[in-house]
């Protein structure tokens, strides 16, 4: 019983980074830009969050600066894919490697590595927090409670505003959007920056609120899992949230099992999230679900044709 209680209590801590990163990816990809750089942008968010906290000693400031930093770094990606029209897969990979190097270097130079930060206090949602078994699920820091709000706002913006409609049009059929007088590249730029800021927040959550320190390459592939999660969720934010919770449960279970004395080979444990990601991807491919939910112009650069 104790096992289940603490397992559920730890789940949000693992689920939130997946959820935020997946949401950021969905926003970017809805505009037709294939974003593979999540892993790198999460690292940027993580190192900047820690750096900003160590400098200003304000968690809110740290989180905001992490978002700004990821947004700024994503401008480089935007330059590559929108202006220079470099292959979006290559650009995404380059961004990851660049960010891995950049964050390791920054962390070391500034002496931010292995400096603990206090994080945020957990707030109990009374009376939910008094429930048996699931009670601990409702004792979390404020950012966890904000996640559903961020999702609500994003879904509303995507589906219930003209700007959202235009952005989705840009991702589905940029030629039609262009003919309707919509600035295609402007909307794609906005989608990249906003999406990247959310991915940066996901990274900052891991470093500032979960692990509470910076170690080089600490995101350990979570950005890639988020990329897979988006495909698994067929670009639907709510499904992505559900998927994030599922992956969070799996990740949270591993330390619980170890603590409860069940012996598992260490490397098997480390491998589990990736093995499960792989399994999910294969399942998605085999189940041949409706592929039309993928943005129609995903990965295709926009060029206004002179002769159609």
């Amino acid at each position: 019983m104790d096992l289940i209680s603490s397992w559920l209590g730890n789940t949000p801590e693992f689920a939130v980074p997946f959820a935020l990163a997946a949401l950021g990816l969905i926003i970017t990809e809805k505009s037709g830009v294939l974003a593979l750089g999540a892993e790198g942008l999460m690292l940027v968010g993580a190192v900047c969050g820690i750096g900003a906290y160590l400098t200003f000693e304000q968690t809110a400031v740290a989180l905001v600066m992490a978002m700004v930093a990821a947004g700024v770094v994503s401008l480089l990606f935007a330059l590559m894919v929108l202006v220079m029209r470099i292959n979006q897969v290559i650009s995404g990979l380059v961004l990851v490697f660049f960010c891995q190097g950049l964050t390791t270097l920054t962390g070391t130079l500034m002496g931010w590595t292995n400096q603990p930060v206090p994080g945020l206090e957990a707030i109990a949602l009374w009376p939910l927090s008094e429930l048996p078994y699931v009670g601990r699920f409702f004792i979390q820091n404020v950012v966890v409670y904000l996640v559903p709000v961020i999702f609500l706002i994003s879904v509303w913006a995507l589906n219930r505003t003209t700007s959202g409609l235009r952005m989705r049009a840009v991702g589905e059929n940029p030629q039609a959007a262009d003919a309707a007088g919509i600035p295609v590249l402007g909307y794609r730029l906005a989608a990249i920056v906003i999406g990247s800021a959310l991915i940066g927040l996901a990274g900052a959550f891991i470093a500032v609120l979960s692990t509470k320190l910076w170690i080089s390459n600490m995101t350990a592939g979570r950005g890639w899992i988020a990329v897979a999660l988006v495909i698994f969720a067929r670009w639907s934010p709510w499904k992505a949230l559900a998927g994030a919770i599922l992956f969070g449960c799996i990740e949270a279970l591993i330390p619980q099992l170890a603590a409860s004395g069940i012996k598992l080979p260490q490397y098997f444990v480390f491998m589990a999230p990736y093995a499960i990601t792989l399994g999910v991807m294969i399942w998605v491919a085999i189940s041949k679900r409706d592929s039309s939910s993928q943005p129609g112009a995903l990965g295709t650069p926009f060029i206004r044709e002179e002769r159609t």
Binding site: R166, E172, Q175, A179, G181, G296, T308
Partner: protein, 506 residues
């Protein structure tokens, strides 16, 4: 206002990559009339209308809207002047609903209110407009759930709700059934009666005869004549559309002894929902050129693909007499039999642009083992053969055999394709628009090769939308319409009769 000119174009020209799509074209359409723009494929109809819609900038001449001179900078500006064009290929976001698509287009007009509220208002506007013009459209339906005809109605509603008073429809009936076309054209006739100007770009004689008040005929980038359709005979319209060169041509022997049948096509039918091929029968004899004429989009591409082995969903029989079913042969088998293919898309289907000229040439024989086993390539043999072929087939512009094939001009790229396909004397030649985009000299060279193959006893199938080419080349001519051969002619053939068969059966 009915006396005023809605659109006037004077002396408009437009060149694409050195090809003159329009030269000195004039066009005038008045308010309150349905004005048809008639011509064959490539006559310049769409180019002319794209200039009116602000998509292309004209190179010369002037444009007047409502008798005022204008210079359009883009489609948005044209829309502000009340010009709306429904393109042949719709510009709709398919996973969105009708209302969302129209809202996208109106973004800058209706900018106040909450999203839901605006979507509701747009839906009301759609219903009101649809009711007024007799369309049935559910604003909440997704585009991908609509039929092609319904999607077209959405496009028309889109331009009307954006305030268009000059409505340009580019080949609107090409994708419609008989009844759908009738309904559409009756509706647009209604717009004209209410005072709008409607321009109907078409190659269908029936549309013109039944619905147009005026018709302007275009041929090779020029406007030939503007007439009232009921004031001239159908023969006269056909003559104006297809040109008036004589029957047959000088280098065409009137009679040839046909060889035995070699390719037998029976009941070739597309399996998709759109029956591009619809029970096509065809017999091709040895030692003849069989020309397939017809207005573009009547199944020619599908036929060419099916015969050349380019993936195409068809059923029916394609028998190569003495060899077996052509559709079951892979590329290597086709080559060993002696099937030469010259596809219309020479860079897409015939050549690998980034590979060198020599490599492109070698592709034809690589499978036969002539250039070595799989682990070794006899580059010297390739280069020697390629050098000889390049010389023999007069491929110009070759600085080096290692040069990329994509750098060749259209004509020389085509010669390279032919040099490969004709390297071993072919028994069956399949050529689709082999001289498209080529200059006179290159065209002649290509045609000479096809004639030489024919004289050597090969069966040659020439699919071309250019009637002049078919007339000049073919021993027998089949007219293709709606996915089948509707009429066959032997040389000397009557150009008028062919022209009529091309347009009347559509």
């Amino acid at each position: 206002m009915s006396k005023q000119n809605a659109i006037q174009l004077n002396g408009v020209s437009k060149t694409f990559d050195g090809f003159k799509a329009l030269s000195d074209a004039d066009f005038t359409a008045r308010w309150g009339e349905v004005h048809a723009l008639l011509g064959e494929n490539g006559a310049g109809k769409s180019s002319l209308m794209n200039i009116v819609a602000g998509l292309y900038g004209p190179e010369g001449g002037s444009l007047f809207i409502n008798d005022n001179p204008v210079k359009l900078k883009g489609p948005k500006e044209a829309a502000k002047l009340g010009i709306g064009m429904v393109h042949q290929h719709f510009k709709l976001v398919t996973p969105f609903t009708v209302a969302e698509n129209i809202l996208l287009n109106l973004g800058h007009i209706q900018s106040s209110g909450l999203y839901r509220e605006r979507l509701r208002r747009v839906s009301e506007d759609i219903r009101a407009m649809a009711k007024r013009i007799g369309f049935e459209i559910d604003p909440d339906a997704r585009i991908d759930q609509l039929s092609i005809a319904e999607q077209q109605r959405v496009e028309i509603l889109k331009v009307l709700l954006a305030g268009a008073r000059i409505l340009i429809l580019d080949e609107p009936t090409a994708v419609l059934t008989e009844e759908e076309a009738e309904r559409l054209l009756t509706t647009v006739q209604g717009f004209a009666r209410e005072g709008a100007a409607v321009i109907l770009v078409t190659h269908k004689m029936n549309d013109v005869l039944r619905y147009a008040d005026q018709v302007t005929i275009m041929r090779s980038g020029q406007t030939v004549k503007t007439v009232k359709p009921d004031s001239v005979s159908v023969d006269e319209l056909v003559r104006l559309t297809v040109g008036e060169s004589g029957t047959g041509t000088s280098d065409q022997p009137a009679e040839r002894t046909p060889g035995e049948a070699y390719l037998q096509v029976k009941g070739l039918t597309s399996t998709g929902s759109h029956r591009a091929l619809n029970g096509l029968d065809l017999t091709l004899n040895k030692g003849e050129i069989y020309g397939i004429a017809g207005v573009g989009g009547n199944g020619q591409s599908e036929l060419a693909n099916a015969l050349m082995g380019i993936p195409e969903a068809v059923e029916g029989q394609m028998e190569l007499i003495g060899e077996g079913d052509l559709s079951e042969f892979d590329a290597a088998r086709r080559r060993s039999i002696g099937v030469a293919a010259i596809p219309a898309d020479r860079y897409g289907a015939a050549l690998a642009g980034p590979l060198s000229i020599a490599d492109n040439f070698a592709l034809g024989d690589i499978h036969s083992g002539r250039y070595g086993p799989f682990w070794y390539l006899k580059t010297r043999a390739i280069e020697a053969d390629a050098a000889e072929a390049v010389k023999q087939f007069d491929v110009q512009g070759v600085r080096s055999l290692k040069q990329k094939a994509a750098l060749l001009s259209g004509g020389n790229a085509q010669k390279l394709v032919i040099s490969r396909e004709f390297n071993h004397p072919p028994k069956l030649v399949l050529a689709h628009s082999p001289s498209r985009g080529l200059d006179v000299k290159a065209t002649e060279a290509v045609r000479d090769r096809l004639r030489a193959a024919r004289d050597d006893g090969a069966a040659v199938l020439l699919i071309s939308e250019d009637l002049d080419e078919v007339m000049a080349m073919a021993d027998r001519i089949g007219v293709m319409s709606a996915g089948r051969i509707v009429a066959e002619f032997s040389q000397p053939a009557d150009r008028q009769a062919i022209g009529q068969a091309m347009v009347n059966h559509v």
